[in-house]
């Protein structure tokens, strides 16, 4: 791309979207489809669907032992490895090197991320759940955080809009606390999951439902159906799960209105006092190191929860000495995630003449049942479960006292069925759970680095007891054996569901964004990534980012058509 000598008009667009991940892809699709010339700035390299998935078709024997990275490379991924599953030889190219992207932890915070076109939409878990009216009303009712400026009916049509395009498989259940999506056919439950489902309904009146996930069970919008290889995070040759690369960015490109610019690290937004709007986006070209400024009528910040907050905090001006749109001092506060690693596992006897076919790429789903209806606990909010089952595999041959043909025979026979469930709990929005920027410690591009001070507290710890005990109780009730509840150490961020650093609200004094995801004081800047979340619910959040992005982008296009914002 020729940058030098570009005239301002060449660097001017109708809209700029910062970030190409799950929310940025949606902003780009909707804005371009509304006829707006849109520049998408992505800080990392380009990734073309299929072409740039180097490991997608590798068999286990084509990878190094155990799919491990070389020991000498581990020092680059000290924090990214904390999940235990992210940094494998087959996937490490999707994650940042901590040595290139340092951050500071006052308390442990696992900031697990990848910088490339598509962002984490390539590696996401694909669990897709709607928030409910209960979630949108929760802050108002129990007094934690501030009230959402929208209700379920505001977002419901936009959930439908994005689901019809993205393709979400699942089973309708008609539950108020977990509204149904526009579902493609569900992926099946295993024999033992069906047993658990029946037992839970009979004994507790609780629902277990099929995976709700952005994996296609039938061909959809030109993308292929899931072949259940369960290698999603390497990139899918069939485009069978939703990602920016497979779905929204190609749709945006097809309009002819998209310009995608990789290697473009946003430094800050330029505020224009005379118009009261942002007039430019300052970008460091990752390859040349040159600073460039792009212009547009509107800007969508989709740089991820922490990235977006850092851009705002770094965008200082006479009007906004503490960061753009930060009159409320809420930018960077209320960091939320979902706390997990509490649940239970068990062995299920019987069904030895049964097996499953394929590697289902997502878990079954148990919608929240605590603090729902008449249920009242000693904590507020609640949790849902994701769970899986399967027969024990060849790994049990390691401990088995056998060698030779005996050991081969033993390994070739699957073990008993096991089943487990893992809670995902809501974290309340605490104002002092905070990310700030350190101007004294700059990264290699001269940008300030992030400092995290985030903890979970009494409400979450009380909830975790139920997450373990309820799981164990339900597994006992189905007659499972060796029921083992657990509550393992969880570090904030490990859920990779960061949220809340520029929350939506009704009052500019206590929130950053209004009900259309506009910065209260700067109406041509929209934020529709996880930063906008006013509360976290216990549902995996990406589907909500998609819906809010589509909703805000269409609102922005409407406003531009009416002559506003420009």
């Amino acid at each position: 791309m020729n940058i030098n000598g570009q005239a301002k008009q060449d660097m001017t667009y109708d809209a700029i979207v910062v970030g190409s991940g799950i929310s940025g892809g949606w902003s780009a699709k909707e804005l371009t489809e509304r006829g707006l010339k849109t520049l998408v700035l992505e800080r990392g390299r380009n990734v073309e669907h299929v072409k740039d998935y180097p490991t997608m078709n590798l068999d286990p024997w084509e990878l190094p032992p155990n799919d491990d990275i070389p020991h000498e490379d581990r020092k680059h991924y000290e924090k990214q490895m904390r999940t235990g599953y992210t940094i494998k030889e087959s996937t490490k190219h999707w994650w940042v090197k901590d040595t290139d992207q340092p951050y500071e932890e006052k308390e442990r915070f696992d900031w697990i991320r990848g910088y490339h076109v598509g962002g984490r939409s390539i590696m996401w878990g694909r669990f897709s759940l709607r928030l409910s009216q209960m979630d949108f009303e929760a802050n108002l009712k129990d007094g934690h955080g501030v009230d959402w400026p929208i209700r379920y009916e505001d977002i419901a049509p936009w959930y439908s809009h994005v689901e019809k395009f993205a393709g979400i498989s699942g089973q309708a259940e008609g539950l108020p606390q977990l509204p149904d999506s526009e579902f493609l056919p569900p992926m099946e439950l295993s024999c033992v999951e069906k047993e658990l489902k029946k037992s839970m309904m009979d004994k507790f009146g609780r629902v277990l439902t099929n995976p709700r996930m952005a994996n296609l069970t039938v061909p959809h919008n030109g993308r292929g159906q899931c072949m259940t290889r369960n290698l999603c995070s390497r990139g899918c040759p069939y485009g069978a799960y939703f990602s920016s690369n497979a779905a929204t960015l190609p749709a945006a490109a097809a309009t002819g209105n998209l310009t995608l610019r990789p290697h473009s690290i946003v430094h800050s937004l330029e505020y224009d006092d005379s118009t009261g709007k942002v007039s430019g986006v300052n970008v460091i070209d990752e390859l040349s190191g040159e600073m460039l400024t792009f212009h547009s009528k509107i800007v969508f910040l989709n740089a991820s929860t922490v990235g977006t907050a850092m851009i705002l905090l770094n965008s200082t001006s006479a009007r906004f000495p503490n960061g753009l749109g930060n009159d409320s001092d809420q930018v960077g506060r209320n960091v939320m995630d979902h706390h997990f690693l509490a649940g239970a596992d068990a062995v299920v006897e019987g069904f030895e003449d049964k097996y499953d076919w394929g590697r289902r790429p997502q878990s079954y789903c148990i919608p929240r049942f605590r603090n729902v209806g008449n249920d009242k606990r000693d904590y507020v909010r609640g949790f849902g479960y994701q769970g899986g089952s399967g027969r024990q595999g060849w790994g049990r041959a390691i401990a088995e006292l056998a060698m030779g043909q005996d050991l081969k025979d033993f390994a070739a026979k699957p073990g008993p069925w096991t089943i487990g469930m893992l809670g995902f709990g809501e974290i309340l929005p605490y104002e002092d759970n905070r990310v700030t920027i350190n101007r004294d410690k700059l990264d290699k591009w001269g940008l300030p680095t992030a400092v995290f001070d985030v903890t979970i507290r009494d409400n979450e710890y009380k909830m975790r007891k139920d997450m373990a005990n309820d799981a164990a109780e339900m597994l006992e009730a189905m007659g499972a054996k060796n029921v083992t509840p657990y509550d393992r150490p969880y570090g904030p961020g490990l859920g990779i569901h960061e949220m809340g650093t520029a929350r939506m609200g009704r009052d500019p004094k206590t929130s950053v964004l209004n009900k259309w995801n506009q910065i209260h004081e700067v109406p041509n800047v929209f934020i529709t990534d996880g930063a906008c979340m006013t509360s976290s619910g216990c549902q995996n959040p990406s589907l909500t980012y998609m819906a809010l992005s589509a909703r805000a982008a269409n609102y922005a296009a409407d406003q531009l058509e009416k002559g506003e914002l420009s």
Binding site: P54, T55, L58, D59, P60, W61, E62, L63, P64, P65, N66, D68, I69, P70, H71, E89, S90, E188, S190, C191, E193, K194, Q225, C226, M227, T228, R229, N230, F351, E352, D353, K354, Y355, D356, W357, G358, R359, R360, R391, G393, W394, G395, R396, A397, I398, E400, L401, A402, M403, G404, Q405, D406, L407, K408, F410, A411, A412, K413, P414, G415
Partner: protein, 206 residues
């Protein structure tokens, strides 16, 4: 889950071929380079066949390791551990994936095993006959499983379990292990949650 032990049911011909294979140990370890270079992976290449040149081991150490892994998985109607490249797999696990500290511990334990077994068997473990190797390792395995006392005050039961872990993982992530002993479906197609076991027939490799 039977904990009972049986002697390996090896035919005369298999024993002979195993002895032949042991003689060649250290010279040629099974005609298979397990792991491609990283650049090969990122280009989507498949591993090339070729001879294994040990990084961590001298000829005697390599021969000992080969004898252990082939006792764990001998050639039967399916390949032996060394035939699917397990010595090279272990070499790479250590030299590429492990810390210097873990490498040093493993090498010290291997040395202890070689010295101890040489004394116990009155000759190198690698050149003992297959049945002797099996009986010797099974006694050690019993100790590591909490069912015996043999060598319990040495590093050897733990060392054996380390090698067994590496062997089992390497074997069942190799193409012959995954496809001939287990069932492997690279592209399963639609998920079916509850099918008769006979449709699959063997443990899934992945």
């Amino acid at each position: 889950m039977s904990k009972e032990m049986h002697n390996p049911q090896l035919s005369e011909a298999q024993l002979i071929s195993r002895k032949e294979a042991i003689k060649r140990a250290g010279l040629m370890m099974g005609g298979f380079v397990f792991a491609p270079a990283l650049t090969g992976i990122l280009q989507g290449c498949t591993p090339q066949s070729g001879e294994w040149t040990p990084v961590m081991f001298d000829a005697d150490q390599a021969a000992t390791l080969k004898a252990i892994v082939d006792t764990i998985f001998p050639e039967t109607d399916t390949p032996s551990a060394s035939q699917v490249g397990i010595p090279g797999f272990i070499d790479e696990l250590l030299s590429r994936n492990s810390s210097k500290e873990d490498q040093d511990v493993f090498m010290a334990e291997l040395t202890e095993f070689m010295n101890q077994s040489s004394a116990d068997l009155e000759g190198p473990f690698a050149t003992a006959d297959a049945e002797t190797q099996y009986e010797y390792l099974m006694e050690i395995h019993k100790t590591s499983a909490g069912q015996g006392e043999t060598l319990k005050d040495t590093s050897i039961p733990g060392f054996f379990m380390k090698v067994k872990w590496m062997t089992v993982v390497g074997y069942f992530t190799s193409e012959p292990g995954a496809t001939q002993v287990l069932r492997y479906a690279p592209i399963p197609g639609p998920y079916r949650g509850c099918v008769p076991f006979e449709e699959v027939g063997r443990t899934w490799a992945t």
